[in-house]
């Protein structure tokens, strides 16, 4: 019999987590051996955020509908939330902020919580699609604990519309075993040059205007967010020249990188971390010229059908203990120093998750204008159809 009081080490927990994710063990085994199953049962009273709150009595409804990104939540946390509140999490996964915005613009999304990226929030506010947050209903959100650089974009005109979830970078991943005697590339210039030479037919770029056009702009040293027609024309020239050399235009690059079909790809932090962990020769590089720094948020769309559940869910996930588990699961850092305090030192010292300051300073947040600029959208369409 398992001794329920057994202490499970962090290493053992992560090892069990990996086994569970690979499908080597069942969820039941995982919950049992890590104590999470038992934790789930007592969570309602053990979690400070859940205790004494009216909705913990089970009157927040039976569901909360979440619109989010792929591989971005620990299912065990959803189970714990459902066990504590009676509200099951109904998750919808999206591929781009544009798609999320399109669904909300079309109306009737039925979402309670969604996960917009920094540069979209002003557009949601001006389109009246997002609910200003009543922070008194999110006691786990302590503004003082959050890094202002990442949490700041959630506030528009002095009103808080969104609270910080995670942050990360957009760099590129390269399979160093394919480089031969060439040194590991460190710039976007090398990324695009290598694509059109030794790596022909082996590079992937995102099916996403912001990062693909943005990092083509970086080849010339322009701003990642440029909407200047002359600069976009240069980026288009580069993209068109590179197109015949590309393996694919897709944001689902992990399978091709892991199988060895693709050798290099534009890549987000968490994907870079996950690939590097399993295939050490896949390195994650931040282009020296810069590129994207982003932060994601929790927000509530206007007209959310389960408003109480939405607040309860956001508050639950912002509990530092829960948030730390989320972060360990998906590999994206949080902006919350209370969470950092719970993270193992090897995570905090990981150069993929927490890049050196000089690399970080070169990065730019995406700008709201790129989301709605018709010229960037048309450029992307020409690039894809060429």
């Amino acid at each position: 019999m398992t001794n329920r009081n057994d202490f499970i080490s962090r290493e053992r927990f992560m090892a069990e987590l990996m086994r569970y994710r690979k499908g080597s063990v069942t969820r039941r085994h995982f919950l049992g051996v890590t104590g999470l199953g038992a934790a789930t049962a007592v969570l309602g009273s053990a979690m400070p955020g859940l205790r004494n709150a009216a909705w913990a009595q089970g009157n927040i409804g039976d569901r909360v509908v979440l619109a989010t990104w792929p591989n971005y939540h620990d299912p065990a946390n959803f189970e714990a939330f459902a066990a504590a509140t009676g509200a099951a999490v109904d998750m919808n996964v999206f591929g781009s902020n544009e798609e999320m915005l399109a669904k909300l613009q079309a109306g009737g999304s039925g979402w309670d919580v969604f996960v917009p990226t920094n540069y979209t929030i002003t557009t949601y506010v001006s389109e009246d699609l997002i609910e200003p947050l009543d922070l008194s209903r999110i006691p786990n959100y302590d503004p003082a604990a959050f890094n202002e650089r990442f949490a700041g974009p959630g506030t528009v005109d002095g009103k808080v519309y969104a609270v910080s979830k995670n942050w990360g970078t957009t760099g590129f991943a390269v399979n160093t075993s394919q480089l031969g005697d060439k040194p590991q590339p460190t710039t976007w210039k090398e990324f695009w040059d290598l694509t059109q030479a030794e790596f022909t037919g082996r590079t992937m770029v995102h099916d996403y205007q912001l990062t693909t056009i943005g990092n083509a702009l970086k080849y010339y040293g322009y701003s990642f967010n440029s909407i200047d027609p002359a600069e976009l024309a240069d980026a288009e020239k580069l993209l068109m020249a590179a197109k015949p050399h590309l393996f694919a235009i897709s944001s689902d690059y992990q399978p091709s990188m892991r199988s060895g079909d693709a050798w290099m790809t534009i890549c987000w932090t968490g994907d870079g971390k996950q690939m590097n962990r399993d295939v050490p020769e896949i390195a994650y590089v931040l282009g020296k010229e810069g590129g994207e720094l982003w932060s994601d948020f929790f927000a509530i769309p206007k007209g959310a059908p389960h408003m109480d559940a939405a607040y309860a869910f956001i508050n639950f996930l912002l509990d530092p203990a829960v948030n730390a588990k989320e972060s360990l699961f998906h590999g994206y850092p949080t902006a919350d120093k209370r969470v950092d305090a719970l993270m193992p030192p090897e995570v905090l010292n990981d150069p993929i998750l927490y890049p050196a300051a000089e690399l970080l300073d070169a990065l730019e947040f995406g700008a709201a204008v790129t989301l709605t600029d018709p010229n960037r959208a048309e450029l992307m369409a020409r690039f894809k159809s060429a």
Partner: protein, 283 residues
Amino acid sequence: MTPRLRTTLLLAPAAIWLLAMLVLPLVVVLVFSFGERAAAGGYSAAVTLENFANLGARWTAFQNTLVLAPVGTALCLLIAYPLAYYLAVRCDPKWRTLLLILVIVPFWTSILIRSYAWIYLLGGQGIPKLVSLLGLGSPRLINTPFAVLTGIVYGYLPLMVFPIFVSLERLDKRLLEASADLGSPPWRSFLQVTLPLSMPGVATGCMLVFILLMGEFLIPAILGGGKVFFVGNALVDLFLQSRNWPFGAAVAVALVLIMLVTVTLYMRFTRRWAGGRDDVSLM
């Protein structure tokens, strides 16, 4: 209840359904196509022909679709006809049902999942690896027009097999005996009796596959690696990414018009081809 009332009542569900799910959305699309993109994307009311004037910006997508849809249909036909012929005419009737079920079985799984399977089959660790182990070079298959065509033929084959099978199965065998009695060798009986009589099935199958292929977006996106761009992909991007709904609506209207024209021409030709028979129709 008068027969007239009965007919009206029986047709009412279909009529209401078509009105609400086909006619009204088409009207919305038509109205949108004359509108303007709102500043943050979406639709803002206007009356302009600008969206139609800009259609040239998606010419490559139309071109790809207008090449790959007919080629895909033709490949499906070339592969499906012998298969349908075998199933309907040659194979032992006791195996026929089983073989027909085997043709349908793939439909029980989502096309999305089956297309993902092709990613691995056509990827570097799949067929190309086998080919290179045999010392025949290392071909690049995935994310090429060839991969898209493979996926198309694989996905749409049953839609071609069944109509042809039905028309061949209904074929009056006495006509073939008569043809043989009159001294015709088998190949000639096939060309002059079997083939013309199976034309309704061929026409139906081609129509089904062609119409669906014109709107295809999933297979090019998955097996073309986002590099093979159909009108369907242009539409997805216009509605979900750049959120230029009026322009997307105009592209959709253009696609519908192109389909109407090609399908009408096609019907006219197949009718002539089938020797002026009147029963060459969609079904």
